[in-house]
């Protein structure tokens, strides 16, 4: 199984993994940064360590040791509701395919992290805001089912605006489908880890993101069920900036750790090592 082109590509010159513009401004500290440097720094601001939203492909290339076997690429979006508003749904999809170089909002596959075999799913906000439609739901389900067969831990990086409007109830039902797959995976005694990145909200937050054994999050990631604006309209007052950030959720006891992107691979590797040692003993039939 050859390494996917995009992966070899990134290994060589990460900076070209994003559109051509040479400079970018840090939304947090305002610093103007050379894209090449930011990309080389895992899309973290070198001045204030703001974590930029990262593409799924860049993410995977920073996590996986060597090769990565992608699955579910044959599953592609349809247009079940024949949705047309200002633009046709199919047009929006085409635009995002172009923009993100992705066929849909999640990239799933198998590889190794720190020497441990894992099933890895990474959502990408750049494709329809990471919304979960039937394809995202199907690919994540396929990943979990294959991970159940292989008995390997599953790690999912979430980044999602919620369920995808343009696929209506079929999109909402993906919450049920992925939950069912998660439950089977977990009931078989496999380890499930999620990493919540900016943003993780709505239907994804209220399903696969919060059904895992260990929940990690990136610094300052916005995480919640209801959108900030909706809540502010409901309570008719502004919410503190901290509200719904990863740090806020850590304090409220919702998540296990906030992990800097530079520490992510090392942290996941340690968690995989704990699990590998324990699970192996369990399979050997001893406590």
């Amino acid at each position: 199984m050859p390494m996917p082109d995009w992966l070899r590509h990134r290994r060589n010159k990460p900076e070209e993994s994003e559109e051509a513009a040479l400079w970018t401004k840090c939304p947090s500290c305002g610093e103007v940064l050379y894209r090449r440097d930011v990309a080389a720094n895992m899309w973290v601001c070198s001045r204030c360590s703001h974590h930029f939203r990262m593409s799924a492909l860049d993410r995977i290339s920073t996590l996986i040791d060597g090769d990565f076997t992608e699955i579910g690429t044959e599953v592609l979006p349809g247009d079940p509701l024949q949705w047309v508003d200002k633009k046709a749904y199919t047009t929006k999809l085409a635009a995002d395919r172009e923009k993100s170089k992705l066929s849909e909002g999640v990239v799933c596959g198998f590889g190794q992290i720190g020497g441990y075999n894992v099933a890895l799913g990474v959502m990408d906000f750049h494709f329809r805001g990471g919304t979960m439609g039937t394809v995202v739901g199907e690919r994540i389900t396929m990943l979990l089912e294959e991970a159940t067969r292989r008995e390997v831990p599953c790690i999912i990086f979430t980044a999602s605006g919620g369920a995808r409007m343009e696929e209506g109830m079929l999109a909402l039902m993906q919450m049920a489908k992925t939950t069912a797959a998660v439950a089977r995976f977990i009931e078989q005694g496999n380890v499930y880890i999620t990493v919540l990145t900016d943003p993780t909200t709505g239907g994804v937050s209220a399903s696969s993101a919060f059904q895992s054994d260990v929940i990690l999050a990136e610094p300052k990631a916005m995480i919640g069920f209801a959108g900030r604006r909706v809540i502010e309209q409901t309570i008719r007052q502004k919410l503190p900036d901290q509200f719904q950030t990863a740090e806020f959720l850590l304090e409220k006891g919702h998540i296990d750790m906030v992990v800097d992107r530079h520490e992510m691979k090392a942290t996941l590797t340690r968690l995989l090592q704990y699990a590998a040692q324990g699970r192996s003993r369990v399979k050997a039939g001893s406590a």
Binding site: V135, G168, M169, T179, G203
Partner: protein, 326 residues
């Protein structure tokens, strides 16, 4: 302002008139029966005109009709109901009503989303929008049903999960996710009925089920029409348009294979004959349970898994069919 309530007004006016005429007719020489029949004719025409074929947006308003039967009205018709309370941690959420009950001869766990029948009750029940404590109660009761081995019957009727700061601070996402998880694995039959509003994840939390029943004029949507319009076009007033786009009617969802059965409502909506509608719904639930209870738990769970496993629509349809077949 509820569209349906507004339109009902002219009908009520007409009803009043007809009553007066009937009354008058009894003690006066000239027989006005023909005029009365004409009025009655007119009445039926208007009624058909208004309710004969409703747009998705009109159905949304019908689902929100203040007089529409709520979960409590259905539960009141069960032979016995022992309400259970609380999340064992923090609070008993009045937006969720649940407990053991007897439906026909059968012991069940009934769980419903409960809006208020008046403003006071609506405030107490948070307009039927459950908090995390409510969803934790749901998950607990579902698990308890599994422990007791009794089927689960749910009534879905919510605009959505409570969108407040407190609910976020108490992990609304985690609470809903836990509900979905529990409903996925619980080894007893689940029959869910959408009786009014089926608002997004807050409705899904009570409706992962082996059979899903919907009332003719209820709706079930990935997002509220208002929310959808706000998100897509940042203009909540386009809600009617969004409603049309979202394919949220019982009829649409039956076509998608998401809903198993649609229960017809009397002309004018469920509240025009609450008792009759409730009887039909309970009857449909009993029939569904009758089919499900015969299944061994493992087969039941397997069937539930495959039912949701199949939901999805994309280009490589055939591959999918093959995959789930295995």
């Amino acid at each position: 302002m509820n569209l349906i309530v507004e339109r009902e007004k002219q009908l009520l006016e007409l009803e009043r008139r007809i009553e007066e005429l009937r009354e008058a007719n009894t003690h006066q020489p000239i027989d006005m029966s023909p005029e009365i029949r004409a009025f009655e004719q007119k009445y039926r025409e208007i009624q058909r005109e208004i309710f004969g074929s409703m747009t998705p947006w009109e159905k949304v308003h019908m689902a929100r009709h203040p007089n529409r039967p709520t979960s409590a009205d259905y539960i009141a018709q069960l032979q016995a109901f022992d309400e259970l309370h609380g999340d064992r941690t923090f609070r008993d959420d009045p937006a969720i009503v649940g407990g053991f009950a007897t439906l026909g001869e059968r012991a069940v766990m009934v769980i419903g989303e409960q809006r208020g029948r008046d403003t006071k009750e609506n405030v107490r029940r948070n307009f039927g929008m459950p908090s995390p404590e409510g969803y934790r109660k749901v998950a607990r009761l579902a698990h308890l049903a599994g422990r007791f081995g009794v089927p689960i019957v749910t009534f879905v009727d919510t605009k959505g999960a409570d969108p407040s700061a407190a609910s976020e601070e108490h992990a609304q996402s985690e609470a809903i996710a836990a509900c979905l998880y529990e409903f996925t694995i619980v080894p007893v039959p689940i029959v869910a009925t959408v009786i009014g509003e089926g608002g997004s994840g807050g409705a899904l939390a009570l409706s992962i089920a082996d059979r899903i029943v919907m009332l003719e004029h209820s709706y079930y949507s990935v997002a509220s029409p208002e929310g959808c319009a706000a998100i897509l076009w940042s203009d909540a007033s386009k809600a009617d348009e969004a409603a049309a786009h979202l394919k949220l009617t019982a009829q649409d969802l039956q076509q998608f294979g998401i809903v198993d059965e649609v229960i017809p409502e009397p002309l004018g909506g469920a509240h025009r004959d609450a008792a009759g509608t409730i009887a039909c719904v309970l009857n449909a639930i009993q029939t569904a349970l009758g089919q499900l209870v015969a299944m061994p738990p493992d087969r039941l769970r397997e069937a539930r898994y495959l039912k949701y496993r199949r939901i999805g629509a994309w280009e490589s349809e055939r591959r999918e069919a093959v995959r789930t077949g295995s």
